[in-house]
Amino acid sequence: MTCDELRGEYGAWALGIAEDPALSEIAAHLARECPACIAGVRSAMATAAALSGAVTETDPPKHLRRRIIAMVAPEPRRAFVFLPWVVSGLLAIALLSVAVSGRRQAAESGPDVTKLAQALAILNDPVAKDVTFGDPAARGRVFVSPKGIVLIAAHLPKLAFGRTFELWILPAAGKPVPAGTFDGETISNGSNGSNGSSAVYVYRGSTANAAAVAVTVEPEGGSPQPTSTPFIVTKL
């Protein structure tokens, strides 16, 4: 589609309600840094952002501030608060990864309850497949249930600026399906993960027909199809 045809769709895209083909067309225009679409989408983003001004404000509970600041505090004071919850090996492995990296900052080792709950939902699925991988470039473990994927990886390659890791679901036949990007969101360290060597990543979504999972390095934001050779490929 041309930029002219997409103009009327920027607003819906900014709100997350655009439909295909406009949805993927706008993403493609942005990916190739189309100036008209970037300008249009930015304007639409401003409109969408402005809508938050119509919300009635509610005071958050006071402990929320402490929780958020504790995530990035130099001394992690509450690292073990959630330990009793953890019945699977996930947190043990995650903490081990944290310990391995001497430069790890407290931010990423702070409790990310939502992510942990999502991870546990996948790990506790009786039909989840559990595969350990040990490629030369990275090693770790991947859990795949019909509901999603938990990837725990160490020794990830160093990311250049503006690059991110992208997880792929490889079906028995057909193209790789993107399963999201990660770059130090959970326990990988520091700014943009460029020094990161470990990650715990949770993907929620269908894993139907998954025969293998793979990880590549992609431009920031990810790619619709892999643009580099996977450094992790794990058959299920």
Partner: protein
């Protein structure tokens, strides 16, 4: 199943004095006040001083704060939370309607900003709109059906909240009486247009889902969405560049 739309909550507050004299058929606040987490008709008391202050401050200090966040200065996180935490929590709570869940999602939002701040352009970026977009995305992603989530994967979400899309917008939004302007703009929408924007913003419904919910053809919904966004853009002075 189709649900009568006047049974659904209307979540935008509309200022009393800019509201048309006749009441909307689809504004259920007065009929179902207990269903709405949003106050209405009390605009003068609801000037959202926190929001105004936050937006004014952010114009002056965004750049410096962003640079401190990029250095991973923990005090910068405190300042970021003090500036936007209340608003982010309010947006998320309005969507998920459950305080513990909202807390988790706000925490996730701030962590995401902390981890992605490297891609933010301190001189041009608008911290508040970016953070609030992330907060809303986390909340919408949480309430969406799993089927809908599968269609709209993490990739799309990542693109939609990329910091480079939130530049050069701060001044437009922040140098005005933002809450008043946005509510006045929403008041210019007709009830159907208001409803589709609410369903999109607060429930993350896709346009086909809105069509089902409102019992209208998809084409009609798309027309309402497009018209509503055009009016908002015009009222907010955010023309799409040619």
């Amino acid at each position: 199943m189709s649900v009568s739309i006047d049974e659904k909550r209307t979540v935008f507050e509309v200022p009393a004095r800019v509201r048309p004299a006749r009441s909307y058929p689809f504004t259920p606040h007065s009929r179902y006040p207990h269903r709405s987490g949003f106050r209405c008709n009390n605009f003068d008391r609801m000037m959202i001083p926190g929001l105004i202050l936050a937006l004014e401050l952010s114009g002056q200090h965004d750049e410096e704060l962003a640079r401190r966040l990029q250095r991973h200065d923990p005090d910068a996180m405190k300042e970021l939370y003090d500036r936007f935490g209340r608003l982010a929590y309010s947006v998320v709570l309005a969507i998920v309607r459950n305080s513990p869940t909202a807390e988790d999602l706000v925490q996730e939002t701030f962590l995401r900003v902390w981890n992605r701040i490297h891609a933010f352009e301190p001189g041009r970026g608008a911290l508040g709109p970016w953070l609030l977009a992330i907060a809303r995305n986390r909340a919408i992603d949480h309430v969406r059906s799993s089927a809908s989530r599968m269609e709209r994967n993490a990739f799309e979400l990542d693109v939609r909240e990329h910091p480079t899309l939130f530049v050069d917008m701060a001044r437009e939004v922040e140098n005005t009486d933002h809450a008043r302007v946005i509510r006045a703009a929403i008041a210019k929408l007709n009830p159907n247009q208001q409803k589709v924007i609410e369903l999109a913003y607060y429930e993350g419904l896709s346009q086909p889902e809105m069509a089902e919910r409102m019992g209208q053809p998809l084409g009609t919904i798309k027309t309402w969405v497009r018209a509503a966004l055009a009016i908002l853009r015009q009222e907010l002075g955010q023309e799409v560049p040619a």
